[in-house]
């Protein structure tokens, strides 16, 4: 089967600190993959390499058979953990920006989402609450008809009641053939939607399995996670 993501023997170090050490995995279209691991294990670094934000690594990284470049960026919708929209920007500006640069951005759907989220099209990011900013960033990503969605801690700053709604939104809006890679530490909230799970520990990929394999012993993904990373607590 044609792979959407191919990572082979990926290494990345910051000075003498090795962050990713020989990571290899593939992801085929249509899967929802959980990227799990304790803080500082290298999840965000892996995501940054996949999205082309970090270049000085060794090993092979391919998205749809291309190294991260302008083409792969056109088919990847990325939600970073950080707030990246400038203070002066308003939702209307952000929608224009995404319409101009991403052919797969559905502006009508985005306008509908803005209204559904109760956002004001002319309110500057600077004056929005943290929750409103997160909603805006999320809608910019899910209103793209991308082949790959990479979501770095999408539920991090969201209250428990909103988490389920956000997950529903992601599932409702993605194309069936698209792949979703979700990095999160809120496993119990998300594990029901995972097809596969990748667990990273100290730069090594220690679990790369289908969720059904993990649940064979009647355990949840979170319980497996706690077993695997018991040293971290």
């Amino acid at each position: 089967m044609e792979q959407l993501i191919t990572v082979e023997n990926l290494h990345k170090a910051y000075g003498s600190k090795v962050v990713l050490d020989g990571i290899s995995f593939n992801a085929s279209p249509g899967q929802i993959i959980g990227l799990l691991g304790p803080n500082g294990c290298g999840k965000t670094t892996l995501i940054k390499i996949l999205t082309g934000l970090i270049k000085d690594h060794t090993g092979t990284v391919r998205i749809n058979n291309e190294e991260p470049d302008a083409y792969t960026k056109s088919i990847v919708a990325y939600l970073p953990e950080k707030s990246y929209l400038p203070d002066w920007m308003r939702p209307i500006d952000a929608l224009d920006y995404f319409t101009d640069f991403y052919k797969d951005f559905d502006k009508d759907k985005a306008l509908m989402m803005v209204s559904r989220f109760g956002l004001d099209l002319k309110q500057r990011v600077k004056t929005m609450s943290k929750g409103q900013q997160e909603k805006l960033r999320l809608l910019l990503v899910i209103c793209r008809n991308a082949e790959l969605y990479i979501l770095d801690e999408p539920l991090g700053g969201v209250d428990p009641a909103a988490r389920a709604k956000i997950l529903d939104l992601i599932l409702e809006n993605r194309a069936a053939s698209s792949t979703v890679l979700i990095s999160t530490h809120l496993i119990s909230d998300v594990e029901s939607i995972f097809d596969r799970v990748l667990m990273i520990s100290e730069g090594h990929l220690i679990v790369n399995a289908h969720v059904n394999e993990l649940r064979e012993n009647g355990k949840t993904v979170e319980e497996v996670f706690k077993e695997v990373f018991s040293y971290a607590w």
């Binding site: 910051y14 940054k48 999205t51 934000l53 000085d56 302008a70 400038p86």
Partner: protein, 272 residues
Amino acid sequence: MLGKLLKHELKQSARSVTLIYASAAAVIAFIFIGMLTKITWIGVVGSIVLYLTALIGVVMTLVSVIRNFYETLYSNQGYLSFTLPVKCSSLLSSKVIVSVLWIILSFLLAAVCFLVIGMNAKATAEGSMAGIWDILELSGLKEMLPTGATLIKLAVIFVVTVLLLVLTFVSFVYFAVTMANTRLLQKHPKLFGFLIFFMTYGITNAIGTKLTYSLPLSLEITTTDVNLVFVAMDKAEGMLSYGLGGTLFMALVAVGLLFLTGWIMEHKVNIK
């Protein structure tokens, strides 16, 4: 995509400079009211404010060019810029074009401000409004000005030189900011940015100055013609001479630095 990048770059950067232009326009209007109503204090206060506005305008434009480049690429906003489906060379080109445009506009604004201050001074001295020609006469420059084709040649040389100077400044700044955001230096990007800028700009300027005087390639300027001559600047004849070695050297270094900056952005920059 370059057109779209330019559009959004202009939109982003315009916010910091339009306030300066609006202030200058308001002060100029204030001075003209003073000249028309012949109320002297309006012209005096207006001229002082306009002088400060012109200086602050140039300084603020330069600062905003540097800040805008850093913030849009190497702060959190870099997550937006570097994940756009465009090549880094396009990203860089749009920023260079828009920055050069704003700097040139701020220089033009400063020139207009000084012209208005001069007109106001003449009007205050003689009790009537003065034109550009009168100001030149007042300063004694009118007799020295060449005419016709020579004037056009000089104007072209002046415009090209200013453009090259601005492009050179922008390329050195962008190179320094980008280098300071590579993995080895990004712990102290401001410190390394300043150091790299002053070192590279200082060294190349020193070499450029030497080449201006020593390279046998100069312009001989007289009131009737401008000629390219293959002698060093101090050996050229004519009313004025201008050594081209330094300008050409700086232009080459600037272009080289822009290519290098694009390459570093493409291959070496890690977004924090």
